[in-house]
Every structure is written in structure tokens, then in C-alpha cells.
Subunit: 335 residues, 2 copies
């Protein structure tokens, strides 16, 4: 059984292909009786539109691509989920590409996506050297929206979260609970997110007269958090609270403290960042700074469609969201 085309349907229904096309795309323009006949033929033959042909004529696809640094990272999956509904209601589907923080992979994916003439692109670029390739896309009329990176640097719309403010929220929460000495644990300071969170934290600590000690974790994951906290415990007067640059690090810190018999939150409070699903699932549910992830995705998609709708006259927008503190057991003690 070969797939049948409009021509087959037209023949079967005794009409021209133009009419079949009308039944599909502007049903109000065709007489009831004819419509019925055509629809019957479609059903009988099991006809399915060929999107390639459609796209060819239209010049673009209806699909939106999103290129993320890591599909397994809950942050990105939530962003994807936020973006999906809009794309679907525009008749397209979301193509998710995992660059794995690898520039070459990212580049290859951008090439493929450009060949596919995607409607638009949501991307968290691997680093600033992607800028040039992205400009090429917009030059070829493929709008690009940056997610959580490089806001303002490029001729694109962007969505991001205010990390400095997130750092402030965390520090303020700890200060209010009476902590006089806190540790910050975060990965390489070259990562803007980490630097911003630390900056916000430092700002509030200085204001409130809280002693702040920064530990550099080898990486932003569980192992990094565990190691850093062990290093911290060796200090003569260890801080009574740790603020971690993300929840993975915080889970690592919790693990390290548990191993050393340090009670959380009684002897040491923990506060994480991102509020991933597993923050609440930890043995001691983690206080965390939540980013509006789904909304990030939703807004990114909105900006994309706005840019498409406005065409030439579009001016780029950079939307910044404010994070929010979610208090749980890991900081539930006042000193």
C-alpha cells in the first residue's frame, strides 16, 4: 500500500487537486456536498498530507527547535514543557536538540535546523562563540530567542532570571534566621550564573554584617558539593549555614553532612538553588531558590511568535524574571 497523494484523492472524489486543497485549508470555501465527497475519499484512501511539499511551498516549516545544554537537566526539560503548548497550537512540533555543551555538536545541529528551515529557535548557547552562527540564522530570517544566557549581548530576544536577586533572597533568608557565618559553595566563578548568585549573597551579607566564606566546588554537581562541605568541616569554626549555587551541590552538601553526623538543619542549615523536583524529595527537604522555569519556556516561545508576527518592525526584548524563595525543612531552625 503506497501512500496516496492529493492527486489520488482528487481522482477518487472526482474533483481537482485544487479543490482537495481547499477542503483541507479553507473548508468554508467549498460546497457541503463536495466537501463530504472529498472527505470520504480522504478517509477511504487513508490520505495524509505531505508536510515536505507544504513546507516547500510555504518556504518554512512549522516546527520550533530548542537547543539545550543537557536534556537530562530538569531545568531544561521544564523549559521545554513550558514552550510546547504554544508551538503545538501553532500546528508544529518541538524539536529538542542536546548540544551536551559541545560546540561542534551545537554547530552541526544549527546547520541541520537551518536546512530544515525551522520556524524559530530557542537556545541556550554553549558559549559566546556561538554568537556568530546565531546571527547567521537571523540573517536568514530564522528568529532566535536566547534562554538564560547572553541576554542583551546579541541582536536577539532573550529570557533570563535575575541571579543576583536570587543570591540576595538566599542570604536574606539565612540572615533572618540568625546565622552569623555562612558558606557559599559554587563552581568555577567564570560561570556568570555562579558569579551573580555569589554577588547578590555578598551584597546582603555585608549589609547585615554576616561573615561570608566562599568555597569553590570542582563542579556544579553532587560530588562537588560533598567535597566542598568536607573541606568546610575541617575549619576550626565552621559556618552554621551553606548556600549552594545549585541544588545538586546542595544535595551533595547534605550527603556530606549526613556522613559526618552533622544534623541538618540543627547544626548546619542548607539552601540550594533551582528548586528541582528532588530538592523537596531530599531526606531533609531543601530550602531553595526557585526559577520560573516553565514560564521561561512559555515566554521564550511567545517572544518568538511575536517576532514572527511583527516581522521587520520588530524590536528585540529582554525579559528578566525574578526568582522566588521556597522555604523547607533544611533551614527551619532559628539560631
Amino acid at each position: 500500500m503506497t501512500t496516496s497523494s492529493m492527486k489520488d484523492v482528487a481522482r477518487a472524489a472526482g474533483v481537482s487537486v485544487g479543490t482537495v486543497s481547499n477542503v483541507l485549508n479553507r473548508p468554508e470555501a467549498v460546497a457541503e456536498e463536495t466537501k463530504r465527497r472529498v472527505q470520504a475519499a480522504i478517509a477511504r484512501l487513508g490520505y495524509v498530507r505531505n508536510d515536505s511539499a507544504r513546507q516547500l511551498r510555504a518556504g518554512r516549516s512549522r516546527n520550533v527547535a530548542i537547543v539545550v545544554l543537557d536534556v537530562a537537566n530538569p531545568f531544561f526539560t521544564d523549559v521545554v514543557r513550558g514552550a510546547e503548548p504554544l508551538v503545538h497550537s501553532a500546528g508544529g512540533v518541538v524539536t529538542v536538540c542536546d548540544s551536551g555543551e559541545d560546540l561542534r555538536r551545537e554547530q552541526r545541529q544549527l546547520e541541520i535546523l537551518e536546512e530544515q528551515r525551522v520556524l524559530g529557535l530557542l537556545i541556550t548557547p554553549v558559549d559566546d562563540s556561538s554568537a556568530e552562527r546565531l546571527e547567521r540564522l537571523t540573517a536568514h530570517d530564522i528568529p532566535v530567542v536566547l534562554v538564560d544566557r547572553g541576554a542583551g549581548l546579541h541582536p536577539h530576544c532573550s529570557v533570563a532570571v535575575d541571579d543576583v536577586h536570587g543570591g540576595r533572597l538566599a542570604a536574606r533568608h539565612l540572615a533572618e534566621r540568625g546565622h552569623a557565618s555562612v558558606a557559599f559553595i559554587g563552581g568555577p566563578p567564570s560561570i556568570p550564573q555562579v558569579a551573580d548568585r555569589l554577588a547578590g549573597c555578598r551584597e546582603v551579607c555585608e549589609e547585615a554584617g554576616v561573615r561570608l566564606e566562599a568555597f569553590t566546588s570542582v563542579s556544579l554537581n553532587v560530588a562537588g558539593g560533598r567535597q566542598a562541605v568536607e573541606q568546610m568541616l575541617r575549619l576550626p569554626d565552621a559556618p552554621t549555614a551553606v548556600f549552594c549555587a545549585n541544588d545538586l551541590v546542595a544535595l551533595g552538601a547534605l550527603q556530606g553532612l549526613t556522613m559526618h553526623g552533622v544534623k541538618v538543619p540543627e547544626e548546619c542549615a542548607i539552601i540550594g538553588y533551582d528548586d528541582i523536583e528532588f530538592a523537596a524529595a531530599a531526606a531533609v527537604p531543601l530550602t531553595s531558590v526557585r526559577q520560573p522555569r516553565a514560564q521561561l519556556g512559555r515566554t521564550a516561545a511567545q517572544l518568538l511568535f511575536e517576532e514572527i508576527a511583527e516581522g521587520k518592525g520588530h524590536t528585540h526584548r529582554n525579559v528578566v524574571f525574578q526568582p522566588e524563595l521556597v522555604a523547607r525543612a533544611s533551614t527551619a531552625v532559628d539560631l
Copy 2:
């Protein structure tokens, strides 16, 4: 700057479009000098192949779609990662669709994917009522590989993991550690995965003379695990170990036990299932039964490409993987 076509390139290089096509697809068939001229023109014009046109001619796209129940579930993201490399080396990109366990969404996505004439489809169907729609796809020459569901039921290839064996592994591990009474915590028994894991566990327990008590969690998540374990603690002689149908439930159990001051593993051991990344990240690292997730994806993609290569003469294969036990701190005590 309008996007330029092969015709433009041909004109710029002073050759015919056929030659340009050859430079792109069979470079060995065109003279050095000509090739150089054409490539120069391509670079100068910033020409990018139009995949729609290509697909139209070829009759199919080079993209593979994967429809999952939940993009945020680490199980599926790992499957996606396993499948990606193969698809990329075939010149395509992976379209990830999240059905969200919603039949209507799944249906809509299948329609779109069929219109797009995807090369093939990897899917974990929402339920058996998807079978009919999937058969329609194969009838239209779009091969389908089932992932972790409905193996053998349908005229498709499939990959799955032996859950009964996984249950046996867990029970054996606990029996070896000297536990005489264990609890199973799992969601509705109507889920085949849950039923199989329990069956395997029961089999070994009976064999080894271990008392087994099954608790039904309201759902397969953290809250479910916490509630079930609280119920368990109310028993006069509570079991000394719990086997959870998945890691989320196990994390919930750990949380519940921690809240009630029960020490893990000294007073109660825990063993989970899936070995998600966060199992190792728990305050007490969780012993878990690992499914070869990436390999599941890789193999699924392989089966897909085999089916494509073999064409008509293809006979469907059902590949079943054996899970593997990963021992960690949460069971590291012999009674």
C-alpha cells in the same frame, strides 16, 4: 537578504543546477576546478540546502521521532541520549515529543509526525489503545519501535527490561544481608512494571523463607513513598528493609524514615529501582536496580535502522535487557 537557492548558486558559478547538486551529493563525480568554483559560490552566497525540497523528492525525512510519557523523567531523557548519536550519524535530528500520558496529545503528535514523514518512530505508548494508530503508521511505511511497553503484543520491534528479574535481584540482595522480613512499596498493581517487580521479589522471598509484606502507594512518587513507609512504621513488628518500585518512592521512604528518626541502613535498609542519578545523590546513597537506559535507546534506534535497511524482508525482534543491582550505603549492613 533572501535565502538563495541552487539556481542562484548555479548562476553564480556558471554551471547548471545538476552540477551544483553533484558537488553536494557526489563530489567525486565532478572535476576539481568546477567543484572549487561551485563551493566558492556557495560560500559567497551563504547558500543552505533546503531540506523540504530534498525530502519531497526523497519521499521521507531523515528525522527520527521519539514520543515519551514525560520529558522530565530521567528514564526517558537517558533513552533519548542513547538514541541520538545513531540518528545524527544518519544525518537526521531527533524530534522529542512529550505525550504527558495524554492519549489525545499522543494522537495529535502521531498525526503531525506522519505528515512530516519521519524516518521512524520510537515510542512508549500511553496505553494499548494506541496500538491501532501505530499499525497505521507501519502500514504507511513508517517503522515503529516500542520502548519499554507492550513488547510482543504488536507487529513492531521492541526493547524492554526484564522487571521480574529486577525484582529477584533486589530480594536476593536483601536475603543475603540477613533480612527476614521485607516490605514492598509500589503503586497501583495494574501497572505491569510494578506487578512484575513484585512477582520477582515474591518468588525469591518464598524460596528463601523471607516474610514479604506489600504496601500499595497511592502513586509512584516521593509523596507515595513517604506515606507508605509511615503506614509501615505503625506495624508492631515493622520489616527491617523496604524494596521500592522505583527510586522516587525510595527517596520518599528515606525521607519518611529520616523524619521519624529511623536510621538507614542500621534500623531499616532501602532498595530502589531505576538507579536514577539522584539515587546516588541521596543523603544516604541508595542501593538500586539499574536499567540500561542509554542502551535501551541505542538498541531501539538500531532496530529502527535495521528495519529500514532490511525493508520488506524484515522480521520484528523483541530485545529484552537484564537489569543490574548497584549496591550502595542504604543496604550496607548485615543483620
